[in-house]
């Protein structure tokens, strides 16, 4: 009994420690981004662009495929469920709101957490084991400025951009299916969709994607920095990073939706 309570206590303390560490990393990243140039130590733009290419451009094909699939799946389910009440003509309302406010940010967040979050955690863990982080420090380069800030900045641009792209693809795919099924023109479907949506819906989705961006990077960096052991350790922190990031995204999504819709 005592040992399980002790174990729980230790986990809680470690969790708080990691949250604190993530907060420090976030603050330091913002500090270097805002004031690094003034000290002659800017966050290097090429590093940010490189990360954007890795996280964004290279993720486009799979993001497109998943978004189209989600759009089609929503269209199929909407037509089926609304068909029970003879209300198929309202399908575009549910599809538009659920894609823009919920599915696009969530699916893209999970995709990027699995793809880029894991890559970032593995990269940092490997660098840590190979003493590359130590090498940065003895050269006089702040590892947060050199490694974390570029990833965070890139993610803050890439995730909302991918989410916007996913909105277009998912709504387009759903539109093609619904217009064919209901025998209406694609233009009529698009017009109905635009009428339903407000800027607030768009900001709801983009706000979530910004939060997810911060979560994915911080979870990856905290795990990558705390690696121990060799290759096994890298594998362990990579898996932990993906699981924690996806869990954090889903929980944050629910909390965000609850808070914003009250």
């Amino acid at each position: 009994m005592i040992s399980s309570v002790e174990s729980l206590g230790r986990r809680a303390v470690r969790g708080l420690d990691e949250v604190g560490f993530a907060g420090v990393l976030f603050g330091e990243s913002l500090f270097w981004t805002a004031l690094g140039a003034r000290w002659g130590r800017p966050v290097h733009l090429p590093a940010v662009v490189f990360q954007m290419m890795e996280m964004g451009i290279r993720a486009l094909p799979i993001a497109t495929l998943l978004s189209a699939t989600v759009g089609l799946m929503l269209a199929i389910q909407s037509l089926y469920s609304l068909g029970l009440f003879g209300a198929e003509s309202f399908a575009h309302v549910g599809i538009a709101l659920s894609v823009i406010r919920e599915f696009s940010p969530l699916i893209i967040g999970i995709l990027v957490a699995g793809r880029s979050g894991s890559a970032l955690a593995a990269r940092l863990a490997t660098m840590s084991i190979n003493q590359e982080i130590d090498a940065l420090r003895v050269i006089g380069i702040n590892p947060v400025r050199h490694l974390v800030a570029p990833a965070l900045l890139a993610m803050l641009v890439v995730l909302p951009a991918l989410t916007m792209w996913a909105n277009l693809v998912a709504l387009g795919a759903a539109g093609l299916y619904v217009s064919a099924a209901l025998d209406i023109s694609l233009a009529a479907y698009a017009s109905g969709t635009v009428e339903v949506l407000s800027p607030g819906d768009l900001w709801h989705g983009l706000g979530k994607s910004l939060l997810f961006a911060v979560l994915i990077v911080l979870v990856a960096v905290v795990n990558g920095a705390r690696v121990s052991g060799g290759a096994e350790g890298v594998g362990r922190v990579t898996t932990t990073s993906v699981v924690q990031a996806i869990s954090a995204i889903v929980v944050t999504d629910m909390v965000f939706a609850f808070v914003v819709t009250q």
């Binding site: 000290w39 003493q131 130590d134 090498a135 420090r137 003895v138 050269i139």
Partner: protein, 277 residues
């Protein structure tokens, strides 16, 4: 008869100057004390080798010397600056005068060898690309890696990786150069070449060099003085000849590679196995 003031000045200028001064340095990992009041002075232009068995604290001492850990007690001065009192920016400025060659090289795997060598220049200098290219090429020539600038670290052998790491460490012409286990994992010929390189750097570039190693042959070849660490304490600091003549059995055990008798208490061993101690 008292010496004249001119003689005093002359004697003072001829006296070797300590560029690294460690006084009563203590280090802890959690509750475990790893270094117990270590004191050591390294003179300008000398090669100081730090030796010791596994767990003696030599790697921890090196991590303190290169600023990767702050001491829990005592003081550490590098180039007349007490590093325990330096802020982040002052430490960064001091690091321009230090170079470190890590055990595995620690080259950045995403950059070419030349980009690795240029990184400190890019970070600390305001040189144009062409000048940085020239400097990187010169430093790679110093370590006998001319023509390997475009290679990626994964394409180099172990010895080449270490030499590339040395090129990066000396690119800013530091006054202090630190080596962590330079001979580890190398065959005898490559190891001997690296020893020659360390001597060449000291002689040609007037650097003060600290080498942490457990390779006895290498240590005796390059060292002006050797500091022997044992269980977190300095056991001896002497010239290689002085250590050979030492009557201290622990030193002789280390130098003659003799295993120490370790007494195992069966009761405490069983307690440790059961997780009770």
């Amino acid at each position: 008869m008292a010496p004249s003031s001119a003689q005093e000045t002359s004697a003072a200028s001829a006296a070797p100057e300590a560029v690294i001064e460690v006084r009563d340095l203590c280090a802890h990992y959690g509750a475990l004390q790893v270094l117990h009041g270590v004191s050591l002075a390294v003179m300008r232009g000398e090669i100081m080798v730090i030796m010791g068995g596994s767990g003696s604290g030599k790697s921890t001492l090196l991590r303190h010397l290169i600023g990767l850990q702050r001491p829990s007690g005592g003081s550490l001065a590098l180039l007349d600056r007490d590093v325990t009192r330096l802020g982040e920016l002052e430490y960064i400025a001091l690091r321009r005068q230090m170079g470190v060659a890590f055990q595995g090289g620690a080259l950045f795997s995403s950059m070419s060898v030349a980009e690795n060598v240029k990184l400190p220049l890019r970070e600390h200098g305001r040189l144009d690309e062409k000048t940085m290219d020239i400097i990187a090429r010169l430093k790679l020539e110093v370590v006998n890696l001319a023509g390997y600038g475009d290679f990626m670290p994964a394409e180099l052998s172990g010895g080449m990786l270490k030499r590339a790491a040395v090129a990066r460490a000396i690119v800013l012409d530091p006054k202090l150069l630190f080596f962590d286990e330079p001979s580890a994992g190398l065959d005898p010929a490559v190891s001997a070449a690296l020893d020659d390189l360390i001597l060449k750097l000291r002689d040609a570039m007037q650097m003060t060099i600290v080498v942490v190693t457990h390779e006895i042959e290498s240590a005796f070849k390059i060292a002006d003085r050797i500091a022997i660490l044992d269980h977190g304490r300095i056991l001896a600091v002497d010239t290689p000849e002085g250590l050979r003549r030492s009557g201290n059995p622990r030193i002789q055990n280390l130098l003659c590679r003799q295993a120490e008798e370790v007494e195992i208490d069966p009761a405490s061993y069983l307690r440790r196995l059961a997780g009770e101690a």
